[in-house]
Amino acid sequence: MTVTPLGNGRYEVVTDTARTLAYAARQHDQTWVFIHGQVVVIGPAGGAVSRRRPHDDAALAAPMPATVTSINVSPGQAVKAGDVLVTLEAMKMEMAVTAPRDGVVDAVNCRPGELVQPGVALVTLVPPGRASEGGPQNER
């Protein structure tokens, strides 16, 4: 495979079987590449950059000031990673707050129609099988 810079962010990629035009741009330690009609973001280690840290509780907060449009869960309910917990609206857009991991809803800290600020967990989750009033689970 040969990659030839053509200038101005353009690259020619030639393999044994095909020739294609690609585009790339760098910001900080990430490289954005457009090739075969797809965008890939590549980190310094050469792997694709994931969009959101999967076990981050920040995922349970609004990413920006937003209005709560619906609450899809109630305390005590078991949820799976990726389940939509709350939907928000901001910038005229609807956004879903999804469960970052499997768990049980411990508390819902917002109401429909409420304007919420970033940094506050809208829903708190506890690990599956653990009652919210129970103490820390022992490592087994």
Partner: protein, 497 residues
């Protein structure tokens, strides 16, 4: 002919750019307004004059009637084009323009007020003979009275908070047996969401299409419709793909719907461009349609109408506002071919449609036959958190629906946008979905097909080619990147041809 000398565009982004271009063609000077977040935006660079109207929050800039009117006065603008969104459907703003001697390029303030009230608009449409979705707010709100109303309206019904909007707290009830449980629950939800448990009972239209008609009316009593747009590919509040003609509309149905749209506009005393939205149940000659609402402004998706009818709606708006008669009669308007609009949003469908803000490190619009791009950004620009994340509209036109669909796909394939996540991959999946390709769409399409569409958005590891390009771009050693070589295109650039 005396149109205006100078028009102020009370908007930003792609629509401000669109209106500025129309002004240029008509020989009218364009005045841009901007917030601090937009000081270096494309619409500011393109306008003849640009006036700062406030800090980034829209409430203190683009939504400030005082700031916009003051800008119009200091710029000496004799007319104001509101674009869409912001102040475009604000009757106080339309009134303020008139009060300060500036022509508002849109309908009269009282028409905006009437059609802005869902209840008043529905009543007006009903009296004008347009079908409306059966529904009522029972005066007595007991369980028994609401159940009776549901029987009168006919199942399936929707119980909606009377004070609500935006689809919040709506409850579908398919059979009478579900009512006993659903009524108190809907009342509780309405109370929780809006502080008022009053319920509106409406017939539920299953899997409707969203089909709207473009209206244009002059100040001399002439009204035409410029055919339909199908906007069924939408998430709540937000259209994603629009097209015209609608795959569901036959000539006879188009005639009936167009006549109803013109009748509503006439009853409203409408002047300038507007859109009548309908829900369409079924397709073809026997389909039923219901008046939904009227948008008293230019629509985001107006370009598909322009492409298929071969007209310039913004220029027509300006001419009509200056008192000219409509340039065409209904019989002179025809549809030719098919047009599809894709809304390219700065949002990440794989992360719950999270809006994205950031720099456009690389942004190259495709240039090819039959493709029009309306955008408000250029490479090196910045997408701000303060406003709607619409980056660009890609409009593909061709002789048939399938040709337009393929053309849209090809255009996306050559539209690199780097530095910010967009919905382009989702747009491509929708265009290639068998149901979309067959024209089998309704307003539930994106929800119903969500899993199928999203599964395909999950990315695998980057391809070796992508990694090689990234390595070449970051100048990392140890990959097979060739050194820059003379390239015929770059060398030709220096040759005079």
């Amino acid at each position: 002919m005396s149109l205006f000398k100078r028009i102020l565009i009370a908007n930003r982004g792609e629509i401000a750019v669109r209106v500025i271009r129309a002004c240029r063609e008509l020989g009218i000077e364009a005045v841009a307004v901007y917030s601090d977040a937009d000081a270096r935006a494309l619409h500011v660079a393109l306008a003849d004059y640009a006036i700062r109207i406030g800090p980034p929050p829209a409430a203190e800039s683009y939504l400030s009637i005082d700031a916009v009117i003051a800008a119009a006065q200091s710029a000496g603008a004799d007319a104001i084009h509101p674009g869409y969104g912001f102040l475009s459907e604000n009757h106080d703003f339309a009134g303020a323009c008139a009060a300060h001697g500036r022509t508002f390029i849109g309908p009269p303030a009282r028409v905006i007020a009437t059609m802005g009230s869902k209840v008043a608009a529905r009543e007006l449409a009903r009296k004008a003979g347009a079908p409306v979705v059966p529904g009522e707010t029972p005066r007595e709100q007991s369980d028994v009275a609401i159940a009776e109303a549901a029987r009168r309206v006919g199942f399936p019904v929707l119980l909606k908070p009377s004070e609500g909007g935006g689809g919040i707290g709506m409850k579908a009830v398919r059979t009478e047996s579900e009512l006993a449980h659903a009524i108190p629950q809907a009342r509780r939800e309405a109370q929780a969401a809006f502080g008022d448990g009053t319920l509106y009972v409406e017939r539920l239209i299953d899997s409707p299409r969203h089909v709207e008609f473009q209206i244009l009316a002059d100040a001399h009593g002439h009204i035409v419709h410029v055919f339909e747009r199908e906007c069924s590919i939408q998430r709540r509040h937000q259209k994603v793909i629009e097209e015209t003609p609608s795959p569901a509309v036959t000539p006879a149905l188009r005639h009936r719907m167009g006549a109803a749209a013109v009748a509503v506009a006439r009853a409203a005393g409408y002047v300038n461009a507007g859109t009548i939205e309908f829900l369409l149940a079924g397709s073809g000659d026997s389909a039923s349609f219901y008046f939904l609402e009227m948008n008293t402004r230019l629509q985001v998706e107006h370009p598909i109408t322009e492409q298929v009818a071969g007209i310039d709606l913004v220029a027509a708006q300006i001419r009509v506002a200056a008192g000219e008669p409509l340039p065409w009669a209904q019989e002179q308007l025809t549809q030719r071919g098919h047009a599809i609009e894709l809304r390219v949003y700065a949002e990440d469908p794989a992360a719950g449609y999270l809006p994205q803000a950031g720099p456009l490190l690389l942004y190259r619009e495709p240039a090819m036959p039959g493709v029009r791009i309306d955008s408000g950004f250029v490479e090196g620009g910045e997408v701000s958190v303060h406003y709607d994340p619409l980056l660009a509209k890609l409009i593909a036109s061709a002789e048939s629906r399938d040709a337009a669909r393929r053309r849209a796909l090809a255009a996306l394939h050559g539209f690199p946008i780097l530095g910010i996540r967009t919905n382009v991959a989702l747009l491509r999946e929708i265009l290639q979905h068998p149901r979309f390709a067959a024209g089998d769409i309704d307003t539930g399409f994106l929800d119903a097909e969500r899993d199928a569409l999203h599964t395909r958005l999950v990315r695998s590891e980057p391809s070796p080619e992508a990694l090689a390009v990234a390595a070449a771009a970051s100048g990392r050693p140890g990959v097979s990147a060739a050194s820059p070589q003379p390239d015929p295109w770059t060398t030709l650039r220096e040759t005079r041809l």
